[in-house]
Symmetry: C2
Subunit: 765 residues, 2 copies
């Protein structure tokens, strides 16, 4: 069959999509037992949290993504949610499979607590009584899917319909649904991964299986118990009328009237048609029309941290487009047939000889599967879509059941036992989450500080929006409080003029001095000529020459031991390249610290150390650098909290001055500096010293911030002796856009949750 519905459309047009993902996951102890502790308090009110809540059980975390327009973004966000949730659990883990971990007696399974929301709790009681608490613990992935409006519009125009746009759209989703149901067994076979259960699961299920390893049960050929009768399904087979929205709703209403369903929420079909409103009711659906479909077939993939890979979601995406295009056979009993097929595939799918029913005729699972996969490959080729790779992998699975996720999981469980197999995966995923704890996907193109703030917001149930991605401009919303934030620390809480003061070093100093704060007494020049005239005062005095308004260290020269007139003029020249005004200031003895003040508090103090290695008596400098660069906090191009140490001419010269090369071996325990400057950007280390700094200096930093009226302020202070709370100090600079990642993820010392301090300042906590 030649495909043509999407012909002439570009890849971008065809793949115009809205996808939201939901993933459940049980909290378990490190021994794999269902956790009996409450949902972590840091996530706040689970009823209001847009991203992290609970499903049936208090121990069943549910991760919910916003709607995205690419599969990649949706999966990335889900993955970030996993990281956030996993890293907030205190010696608990997220169970990586759809079928539950070690479960207690039904009456001991904690139902989700919703304070002051009696109805929510009552509904869960009803479900437990009807379906049993163990089944309610089954977790899965739901995909909320719709085509982009522009795509539907294009299809509508292209097919030159007589009917209304709305009717066209309904027909499109109804056809998708019917074909989805016809081929749903295919998704179960290719993606299913819940073929083992624990001995503590429902006895009548356990009894149908064999113990494949201690406490581990399976029939050895199943794919997805979650999609079987042992899974979570309506009490009886539900046959609905998919010919129109009205008929669909009528057929559901009939089941409700007959008492089979309490209401539409209890409908557990593999696809549900949904409207745009937040309430899922027959009335709203009828009134609003179909806006998207909810797909409920997909098991958690135990081998993937988030539970779903991008490749698999792309595969599902193509499958759904196929369901929209594929012509429907005229066979009438297709619903019952497809229900039987999915059951078979779920329970016996690993049997390559398994026979299914195709429009009343027998066909082997392998042959039908191959038919579908060839269709998909053709479709992919014809529309020049980029999914050949995943399709080829699935083709392989069709022909080789031992390549299914299910087979692999089964083998692992056989080898290690149900609990150890899954807990190893859970811990591996948690460790991976920790390694990338500073990132917030899919926003890794944004500044690290913004990612960190977004991550903390999402953790705490604060809705966010991206106002301008390139500019790191976001909005954070909690109730009626809408806060716009740029670059993480540019907020509504700072006065514009406070920023302008900090931007102007000479104005800053005038104000600091007035407030009795120490700051180097310098001179300001507006042209090289007049600077040259006055320069004789400064010859051979320890000093700093710097442009008045830059913030990035550009054009700054430091002469700790003073310098001659020629050198000073050269430094002036360099500074004047950056700004039309240049400052000369005395150089102050001591170490420089970054005090981060938020509101009335110094929330973190950081010391920056030039790139360095510590010797082991064996390794060369080059080797020590390579070892140090393995730290996942180190990367390139400011995508990580620290930069990799890079070997360059400057470093070689620096080492040369100490009679060293990069091949020199450094004695054990000896710290060897590799550069003069302490910039993080050239591989320097950040060391959190917050808890070592005397309160007197923390107060000075707050006073400095207050003196210019700032609420978020990076105070750069030189302190001669940090152990002496009366030590001489000097405030070098105030920064209105201090980076937060350096404090959040330092090389050494405690990680400070600065993002939360900012959210508190913004009254979003």
């Amino acid at each position: 069959m030649p495909f043509n519905l999407f012909s002439t459309l570009s890849n971008k047009q065809i793949l115009d999509v809205n996808i939201g993902l939901e993933r459940e996951g049980l909290r378990v102890t490190s021994e794999g037992t269902l956790s009996l502790t409450p949902h972590p308090a840091v996530f706040g009110d689970k009823k209001e949290h847009p991203y992290i809540t609970t499903d049936f059980s208090e121990s069943q975390i549910e991760l919910i993504t916003p709607v995205f327009h690419t599969t990649n973004d949706a999966v990335d966000f889900l993955d970030s949610l996993y990281n956030i949730a996993a890293l907030e659990l205190d010696n608990e883990f997220i169970w990586p499979q759809s079928m539950p971990a070690i479960t207690p007696e039904v009456e001991d399974i904690p139902i989700a607590i919703f304070p002051n929301q009696e109805k929510d709790e009552q509904y869960r009681e009803y479900l437990r009584n009807k379906y049993g608490g163990k089944k309610q613990l089954i977790s899965g992935i739901h995909i909320n899917f719709s085509l982009g409006d522009a795509l539907i519009q294009t299809l509508y125009t292209k097919t030159n319909q007589q009917k209304s746009y709305q009717a066209f759209k309904h027909d499109l989703y109804l056809k998708l649904t019917r074909n989805y149901l016809r081929y749903q067994w295919f998704l179960v076979y290719t993606l299913g991964a819940s073929n083992t259960i624990h001995t503590t699961y429902e006895k009548k299920c356990v009894d149908t299986m064999e113990e494949i390893s201690p406490e581990t049960y399976s029939n050895n050929k199943a794919i997805s118990y979650r999609n079987s009768l042992c899974g979570y399904q309506n009490k009886e087979f539900i046959e609905l009328d998919y010919s129109s929205l009205e008929n669909y709703v009528d057929s559901i209403t009939a089941y409700i009237n007959h008492g089979v369903l309490k209401d539409i929420r209890e409908l557990y079909t593999q696809v549900r048609l949904k409207g745009k409103g937040p309430v899922y009711s027959t009335e709203d659906l009828l009134q609003d029309g179909i806006e998207y479909v909810e797909l409920r077939t997909i098991d958690i993939n135990p081998f993937v941290k988030s539970g779903l890979s991008v490749a698999d979601l792309n595969f599902i995406h193509l499958f759904l487009l196929y369901c929209i295009e594929k012509e429907e056979p005229p066979y009438e009993k297709w619903q019952l047939e497809s229900e039987r097929n999915i059951q078979k595939a779920a329970v016996e799918g690993q049997n390559g000889q398994l026979m299914l029913q195709q429009n009343g005729a027998e066909v082997s699972i392998r042959s039908w599967g191959n038919e579908i996969i060839q269709d998909l490959l053709k479709m992919n080729e014809q529309y020049e879509l980029p999914f050949k790779e995943v399709l080829k992998a699935k083709e392989d699975i069709i022909h080789n059941p031992e390549k299914t996720y299910a087979y692999k999981l089964g083998q692992l469980c056989k080898e290690k036992g149900y609990i150890e197999a899954h807990m190893e995966l859970a811990k591996k995923h948690r460790d991976a989450a920790f390694r990338e704890r500073f990132l917030f996907k899919p926003y890794t193109d944004m500044e690290l500080s913004t990612q960190i703030l977004l991550k903390e917001s999402v953790k705490r149930g604060i809705s966010f929006g991206i106002m301008d991605r390139k500019e790191n401009f976001i909005e954070l919303i909690k109730g009626s409080n809408v806060q716009y934030v740029k670059q993480a620390t540019k907020t509504s809480k700072d006065q514009y003029v406070a920023v302008l003061i900090m931007e102007n070093k000479s104005v800053t100093k005038q104000i600091l001095k007035r407030n009795g704060l120490q700051t180097p007494e310098g001179e300001e020049f507006f042209d090289l000529a007049s600077a040259k005239e006055s320069i004789h005062h400064w010859v051979n005095r320890p000093l700093v020459i710097k442009p008045k308004s830059t913030n990035f260290g550009l054009g700054i020269s430091i002469f700790p031991k003073g310098a001659g007139k020629e050198s000073l003029i050269q430094a002036l020249n360099i500074a004047f390249r950056e700004d039309s005004a240049v400052l000369i200031e005395p150089f102050i003895k001591g170490k420089e610290y970054r005090f981060l003040v938020i509101g009335d508090e110094t929330v973190a103090v950081l010391h920056r150390v030039p790139a360095n290695v510590t010797g082991d008596g064996i390794s060369t400098i080059q080797q020590l650098i390579d070892q140090k660069n393995e730290n996942p906090l180190r990367g390139r191009g400011y995508k990580t909290p620290l930069e990799k140490i890079q070997i360059d001419e400057n470093m070689k010269l620096f080492l040369e001055q100490q009679n060293l090369t990069i091949d020199s071996v450094i004695p054990k325990g000896e710290e060897q500096y590799l550069r003069e400057n302490s910039n993080i950007s050239t591989g320097g280390d950040s060391v959190d010293v917050t808890d070592m700094v005397p309160i007197s200096f923390k107060k000075i930093a707050v006073e400095a911030s207050k003196s210019v009226g700032a609420n978020i302020c990076g105070v750069d202070m030189i302190v001669e002796d940090l152990t002496d709370d009366h030590s001489p100090y000097s405030i070098i600079e105030l920064n209105f856009n201090p980076a937060i990642h350096i404090h959040s993820y330092p090389y050494e010392g405690k990680e400070r949750n600065i993002a939360y301090n900012i959210l508190q300042l913004l009254e979003l906590d």
Copy 2:
């Protein structure tokens, strides 16, 4: 005598000085009668006002400058104070001479009212009773003078003193004072200008003179009645001990103890030694030491708006340096002699044969005067100072009494009568003040908007400081409220993020739309390639192409009738030169208005009209432009509210398209545009339409400003039909740093006091 005290010093070092000026001036009606109305309320509490207060009488305005370091700045500021005061008077004028205008009976002269300050009023009562109310109305100029600290330091080092620095400094000021008193007659002769009085002045003075024209009295050879016995002087000759500060204070105390003076404030010597404190008392003076001298000799110069020219202040400055250097003759009775000399010069100075006493010997005023002027010329030459011109002019006066200010004033009064002569000058000065009402000297190097804000602050008694002159960064202080302001509209009242939102056109639009406000629906591009791909949507549609973040109209192309692909790509190219993001928006029909929102109010609405002339049927375009350019609001280089219309190639081309040249004559009453664009910077007109704009659009502007959280916001709005309050509109842009001068001084329409709106917002009013 060779001068050497200042030798080897640079001009800058020698002229290192602190100068503050005070100038009194009577408020009079347009007929020259002393005003009986209260001090203008706009100046607020006169006791607290640092710059504008009253002296003895409620009608006697006193203008007080801060301390400046150049004569030019001090005079400029005084001149600005004159402008501010003169332009706030409602059909009243500032009397331009030291001797009073038409005065009522003594008991009807209003003594200055100081609510809740009984002591101030009582002291004035005491003075009236003692000296008479008429004399109290005499006005003059006081100069508070000291050498710069660096200069005194240099002199101290140079002369290698055994005594302490403080003692050296005291000796310096004491010598200055003694010599000043010796030569004070010389200043009276060269600068005096109060040689005529009105018939309503004190009878016993009038009786000594002849009526030189109706109601006008003089002896025809006087120079300065203010410095004569008819002026304001102590009841008896006060001889003080100027040998040391202690002796000085002791000798004053003796007069107080004898009841001649009530306290030190009543000491009316020509020079008073003063300490640093705000209180003028013998105790404070003794404790603090001498910080400066107050010179009280100078009459108001009726021919100069502020009452004192820079040239004359330079002359005085040099004279004071001369007094510091000039060796003192050993003659003992110098005080009485100098008192007699000043009286003679004051009353008979125009008589070139007048004989004075010089160390007991007779000498003609001309010959002694010449001696001093030659000394000054020599000093000027030897130290290479730049005052030759004013010295030569004064030399001329020494030889020609008819070149004195006094002679000129006498002649004018003879010709026009006392009142008309002075009122003509008063009105001329007031008109000159009006012509430069938008300026605030000496800060004319700063932006006009900042000058306007400073001017309004000074008017209202708000102290100011210049934090960074080049950056237009100021501070405004009232009581404990310190406000930092940059570029007039960057203040503490705007959130930083509000500014960042306004800076980002796409974020601004998202927020405007959310708030239900109309704004053109456009598209944003980040590179030329993807813009080119989408450009076909926009071909032949009326549109605007603009860079996302510039604020100055750079890189914007407008196609009101649409354009072909090639033109659009060219425009995109231009826009991408200014920013890495470019917007394409539909072009909206209508005229563009600038709504200025401050706080909760649209305080002004402006329409900008392209450079244009209106024909008279006779003049050529060139001539019409020349006439229009004579408007003092028009200047070059943004130093005035409007720019002169400049003829350039663009204009010629524009006219050519209409078959015109700059020599064409435009029919009477016909308006001829000269350019396409309406920028003020290319000679456009600004038209205030505030009172014509329906309230509905003013509310929309406020809503737009509020939507981004702004308190100062320039809303650029296109309105199709301003007469229809339901007209379609579109908000083009929000500006966070709107210029205020365009509203303050429009070409047409009401001048809006925006600076006051800002002060109110800053809670400084």
